[in-house]
C-alpha cells in the first residue's frame, strides 16, 4: 500500500497561538514483548491460546450434556440466587463459558503473538476536487437538459402533481386501523340502579359488609349474558372506602352521593390511567403507584400531591330495596386520563 509507512514521522503542527508549541517527537520507540524475542515465551503463549480454545470446546460438550441429561423441571437451590431451574442454569453457564473462552483465546492470540507494530497511514481530505465537483454539476445539467425538464414544463407539473397525489394513498389506506373515538372515552357501564359487585368475585355488597376503614374493589354488575371485557376494565373499576360520616368534607351537592360513610371513586387514575390501588388507612389518602398522584378521600378525592390535575370522578351510590349497594347514576364526567375533547 503506497501511503502506508511504518515508524517515526514528525509533522508541522499548526496552532493559533503565536508562541511556538513543543515539537512533535514522533512515535515513541517500540517496546518488544517477551514473545517477540523469546521463542519459549511465544511457545507458552501459543499453548495458552490453544488451552482456552480447548476449554471452550469442552464447555460446549457440557452444554450438550445439560441439554439431554438434566430434567426440565429439576430445581436446584443456590445460595443468594434461591431456587433455580437447574437445566436453564447449566445451559447458560456452559454456553457462556464456550463463547467467552473463544473470545478470550482470540484476544490473547492477538495480544501476544500477532504483530504489534503500530502502522501509520495517511489521511486524505474527504472533499472532492473542484474539477470533480464541476464535472458532476456538468453531468446533471446535461442530463436535465437532455430530458428537457426546463423546457417541458407541462410534463414537470403533471409529474409533480401525480407523485404528490399518489403519496396521499397511504393516508387513506391507514384509515381503517381503528374506528373513530365517538363517545367511547366518556361512557362506562355504570348507570342508575346498577349493583356494585366485588372484583374479582362478583358478589353484591351490603353496607354492613364493609367496616369503617376498609376498602373494596368494585365492578358494575352486568346483566345476564354479558361480561366485562378488558376495554370495560379500563373504565369501570371503582374503589370503595368507608369512613365515619363525620370525617367527610365534601362539596354540598355531593353530600348525598355517599351512603353511611361509604364513598365510591373511579379507580382509574385521572393522570395516566393506572389503577389507583394503594390506600393509606391512617391518612385517608389514595395513592397511584405509577406516578404517586395522591388523592384525599375526605374531600372527594381532591389531588393533594403529584402530577394529576383532577380529582378522581366520584360515583354516587345508595342502596336498593334489598339493601345492596347500587349506583345512583352513572359517572357525571369521563373517567381516566385527559384527552383533547374532554370539556372539563
Amino acid at each position: 500500500m503506497s501511503d502506508t509507512h511504518s515508524g517515526h514521522e514528525s509533522s508541522g503542527h499548526q496552532s493559533s497561538s503565536a508562541l511556538s508549541p513543543l515539537a512533535d517527537p514522533g512515535l515513541p520507540p517500540h517496546i518488544y514483548r517477551r514473545a517477540d524475542t523469546e521463542p519459549r515465551a511465544a511457545k507458552k503463549a501459543e499453548r495458552q491460546v490453544a488451552i482456552l480454545f480447548a476449554l471452550s470446546a469442552l464447555s460446549t460438550v457440557g452444554f450438550v450434556a445439560s441439554f439431554v441429561g438434566i430434567k426440565k423441571d429439576a430445581f436446584i437451590f443456590i445460595p443468594l440466587f434461591g431456587s433455580t431451574q437447574a437445566q436453564q442454569l447449566a445451559l447458560g453457564m456452559t454456553l457462556a463459558l464456550s463463547l467467552f473462552l473463544i473470545g478470550a483465546g482470540a484476544v490473547h492470540w492477538a495480544k501476544t503473538l500477532m504483530p504489534d507494530h503500530e502502522v501509520t497511514q495517511d489521511r486524505h481530505e474527504l472533499r472532492s476536487s473542484d474539477e470533480d465537483r464541476q464535472g458532476v454539476i456538468e453531468v446533471f445539467r446535461e442530463g436535465a437538459e437532455a430530458a428537457g425538464l426546463g423546457r417541458r414544463s407541462l410534463i414537470k407539473r403533471t409529474l409533480l402533481g401525480s407523485v404528490g397525489l399518489v403519496t396521499l394513498t397511504p393516508v387513506l389506506l391507514l384509515r381503517d386501523l381503528g374506528p373513530l373515538p365517538g363517545k367511547q372515552l366518556e361512557t362506562t357501564n355504570w348507570k342508575a340502579g346498577r349493583r356494585l359487585v366485588t372484583d374479582p368475585d362478583g358478589k353484591p355488597l351490603k353496607a354492613s359488609d364493609i367496616q369503617v376503614g376498609a376498602v373494596a374493589h368494585i365492578l358494575p354488575e352486568m346483566p345476564e349474558g354479558s361480561e366485562l371485557t378488558l376495554n370495560d376494565m379500563v373504565k369501570d373499576p371503582v374503589i370503595l372506602v368507608r369512613l365515619r360520616p363525620e370525617d367527610f368534607n365534601l362539596p354540598s351537592d355531593r353530600k348525598d352521593w355517599v351512603h353511611e360513610g361509604i364513598i365510591a371513586f373511579s379507580k382509574i387514575c385521572s393522570h395516566m390511567g393506572c389503577a389507583v390501588g394503594l390506600y393509606e388507612q391512617q391518612t385517608h389518602h389514595l395513592l397511584c403507584p405509577c406516578h404517586q398522584s395522591t388523592f384525599d378521600v375526605e374531600t372527594g378525592a381532591q389531588v393533594i400531591f403529584g402530577p394529576s390535575a383532577r380529582a378522581l370522578p366520584q360515583l354516587a351510590i345508595t342502596i336498593d330495596s334489598e339493601g345492596y349497594l347500587i349506583a345512583k347514576q352513572g359517572f357525571m364526567e369521563p373517567v381516566g386520563p385527559s384527552f383533547w375533547e374532554r370539556s372539563s
Binding site: G92, L99, V119, Q121, L177, M233, P289, E341, S343
Partner: protein, 531 residues
C-alpha cells in the same frame, strides 16, 4: 499446492472475475484502526444488536403475538386456571417448557439493556472527546437516531409479553398519545384499533418490533459503520499522531482477531447474565388487567428518566372552549424529551457555529482541554440523572425509609439547580487539571520523595517527564474567542447584528478562560533557570 489451496483459489477467482472484489479488498484489508479501550464501546453496542437478532429470532419461534383470551393450563402451577392472553401464556410456556427458552428470553432482555447502555456510554465518549466534529457530524446525527430507535424498540419489546407491568407501561404510553392536542384521541384509536387496550395492539407492535424498527436500526448501523470506514477512525492525540495520519493496527490480522474475539466475549458475558440474573419474571407479575397494579411499577432503565420527568411534573391542565390541554403530560412526556433529543442532534452544529471552526478534526480532545463542552455534557448528564432518580422515587423511598414527597421535591428543585452547579464545578475541575498539566510539563511529576534541605526546609523532588509525555500534554489547540467585528474591512464602524453579538458572547463563555499551555519558550526559560 494443496487441494484446499486450489479450491480456495478457484473460488476466489470465480468471485473476483464477477465482482472485482480483489481490488477493493487489497485496498481495505490492511486498513489501519487506532486502538483504545474506549473505541470498544460502540463495538459492544453493535455486538449486542447481533445478539438481539439471534436470540430474538429464537423467541419468535415460540411467542404467539395474540391477545386472544385463553385459560392457562400449562406447567407453571401458580397461574393455573387464570384467564390470560395467548401472548402472555406463550411467554410463560417458553420460559418453563422450552429447553433453553428461559435462557434465551433472559439473554434477549439483558442484551437489550446492554445495547442501550453501550450506546449511551459510546455517545458520552464521542461527546466528551469531541469526536463528532467535522467531518463526523452526520454520524453523530445517525447515532442520535439509533439511540432513539433503540429506546422505542426496547419499550415495544418488553411490552410484548402482555404482563401486568408491561400493560401498565403501554397504558401510560397511550395516555401520552391521548394527551396530544387536536389529534391525540384519534391517533390513539387508530393505533389500538379502538379503545384501549383492544385486541390488536400486541400483534401490531410485534410486527413493528421484529421487522420495522430492527430493519431501520440495521440500515442505520450499516451507514454508521460505513461512514467510520470511509472517514477513518479518529485517534487520541499523542506523539506521532497528527490530523493528517492514522496510527494503529491493520484490520488483518490484529483487528479482526481482537474485534472478532471481543464479540464472543460480549456474547459470553451476556449469556452469563442471562443464566444467573433473573430479569423480567413476568410469571410473577401476572397477566395484564387494567384494574390491577403492582406497587413499585418501574420501566426499564432507559425509560426511567422519562417516567421520572412525568412523575415530577406540576399538575397543570388547561380547560378552555370545551377542550383540555394536559400540560402535566405534554411537558414531561413530549416537549422536554423533544428538546433534549433535538439539542443532542444539533449540538455539533451549534458548537461549530459558536467556535467558527469549520476545519476537519481527526484528533480527539481530552475532556479537560475543552472545559465548556465537558461542563455542558456534565450538565446534561446531571439533568438526566435527577430525572432517572425520580423515576425510581418509590423504590428509593421504600428502600431507604424516605418520604416519597421529599424525594419528589428534591427532584423538582434539583432538576433546575443541580445542572448549573454541575456545569460550574466541572469547568473549574477541567481548568484545574489544565493547571496541573502545565505544572507537570514545566516542573515534572511529583516523585513522592521528600528531601530535607540543609536549611531544614522540606521539599518534594519532582522528576522531569520525557519529551513524549511532554508533547502529549501540550499538543492541544487553544482556540481564540471569536470577537465581535465592530469595523468592516475599510475601518468603517458597523454595528454587529444580534446574531453576531450572541455568538461573540457564547464564544467568550467558551474560550474566554483558559490556562495557557506551556510553549517552547517557557521551557527554555526554565532551563536557563529563570523561574
Amino acid at each position: 499446492m494443496t487441494t484446499g489451496q486450489r479450491i480456495g483459489g478457484n473460488l476466489a477467482n470465480f468471485v473476483d472475475e464477477r465482482t472485482g472484489a480483489g481490488r477493493a479488498l487489497k485496498k481495505n484489508l490492511n486498513k489501519v484502526f487506532p486502538d483504545h479501550w474506549s473505541f470498544m464501546l460502540g463495538e459492544v453496542a453493535m455486538y449486542s444488536f447481533v445478539i438481539l437478532l439471534l436470540s430474538g429470532t429464537f423467541l419468535t419461534f415460540f411467542f404467539i403475538p395474540s391477545q386472544e383470551e385463553i385459560i392457562y393450563q400449562g406447567n407453571y402451577a401458580p397461574l393455573s386456571g387464570l384467564s390470560m392472553s395467548q401472548a402472555y401464556a406463550s411467554t410463560v410456556d417458553m420460559s418453563f417448557d422450552v429447553r433453553g427458552g428461559m435462557l434465551m428470553r433472559q439473554v434477549h432482555h439483558w442484551s437489550a439493556l446492554i445495547f442501550l447502555a453501550a450506546m449511551v456510554v459510546h455517545m458520552m465518549r464521542v461527546f466528551f472527546t469531541g469526536a463528532y466534529r467535522k467531518p463526523r457530524e452526520l454520524n453523530w446525527v445517525l447515532g442520535v437516531g439509533l439511540l432513539t430507535l433503540g429506546i422505542v424498540e426496547g419499550f415495544l419489546g418488553y411490552s410484548l409479553p402482555d404482563d401486568l407491568l408491561s400493560g401498565t407501561g403501554i397504558r401510560i404510553a397511550e395516555a401520552i398519545i391521548q394527551a396530544i392536542p387536536l389529534v391525540g384521541t384519534y391517533v390513539a384509536f387508530f393505533l389500538f384499533g379502538g379503545g384501549f387496550p383492544g385486541t390488536i395492539f400486541i400483534s401490531r407492535i410485534y410486527t413493528i418490533h421484529v421487522l420495522l424498527v430492527p430493519g431501520i436500526i440495521l440500515a442505520l448501523i450499516t451507514a454508521h459503520v460505513l461512514l467510520v470506514w470511509f472517514q477513518k477512525h479518529t485517534q487520541y492525540p499523542g506523539p506521532g499522531r497528527t490530523e493528517k495520519n492514522v496510527v494503529g493496527f491493520p484490520l488483518l490480522p490484529v483487528y479482526m482477531a481482537k474485534a472478532g474475539g471481543f464479540f464472543f466475549i460480549v456474547f459470553g458475558i451476556t449469556t452469563f447474565l442471562g443464566a444467573v440474573a433473573s430479569i423480567n419474571p413476568i410469571w410473577l407479575y401476572g397477566p395484564y388487567n387494567p384494574s390491577q397494579i403492582s406497587a413499585g411499577s418501574q420501566p426499564d432503565w432507559y425509560m426511567g428518566w422519562l417516567d421520572g420527568l412525568v412523575r415530577m411534573a406540576p399538575n397543570w391542565e388547561t380547560h378552555a372552549f370545551g377542550h383540555t390541554v394536559s400540560w402535566n403530560i405534554l411537558i414531561p412526556g413530549l416537549i422536554v424529551p423533544g428538546i433534549m433529543f433535538t439539542g443532542l442532534a444539533l449540538w455539533p452544529f451549534i458548537e461549530s457555529w459558536v467556535t467558527g471552526d469549520k476545519r476537519e478534526h481527526h484528533l480527539l480532545e481530552r475532556p479537560r482541554n475543552a472545559p465548556t463542552r465537558t461542563a455542558v455534557g456534565a450538565m446534561a448528564l446531571t439533568f438526566t440523572m435527577v430525572t432517572l432518580i425520580n423515576g425510581g422515587n418509590d423504590l428509593l423511598a421504600t428502600h431507604f425509609g424516605l418520604s416519597i414527597n421529599q424525594i419528589m421535591w428534591f427532584s423538582r428543585i434539583g432538576v433546575f439547580v443541580l445542572p448549573p452547579i454541575a456545569y460550574f464545578v466541572t469547568k473549574r475541575i477541567c481548568l484545574g487539571l489544565q493547571h496541573k498539566d502545565r505544572d507537570t510539563v514545566l516542573h515534572g511529576r511529583e516523585s513522592g520523595r521528600l528531601v530535607m534541605l540543609p536549611s531544614g526546609e522540606f521539599i518534594e523532588v519532582h522528576e522531569p517527564i520525557d519529551q513524549y509525555a511532554r508533547y502529549s500534554l501540550t499538543n492541544h489547540e487553544q482556540p481564540e474567542v471569536v470577537e465581535l467585528q465592530l469595523e468592516d474591512a475599510h475601518g468603517v464602524a458597523r454595528p454587529g447584528s444580534v446574531k453576531e453579538k450572541i455568538r461573540a458572547r457564547l464564544s467568550r463563555g467558551m474560550y474566554g478562560e483558559q490556562v495557557q499551555k506551556p510553549t517552547e519558550k517557557d521551557l527554555l526559560e526554565l532551563e536557563d533557570g529563570h523561574h
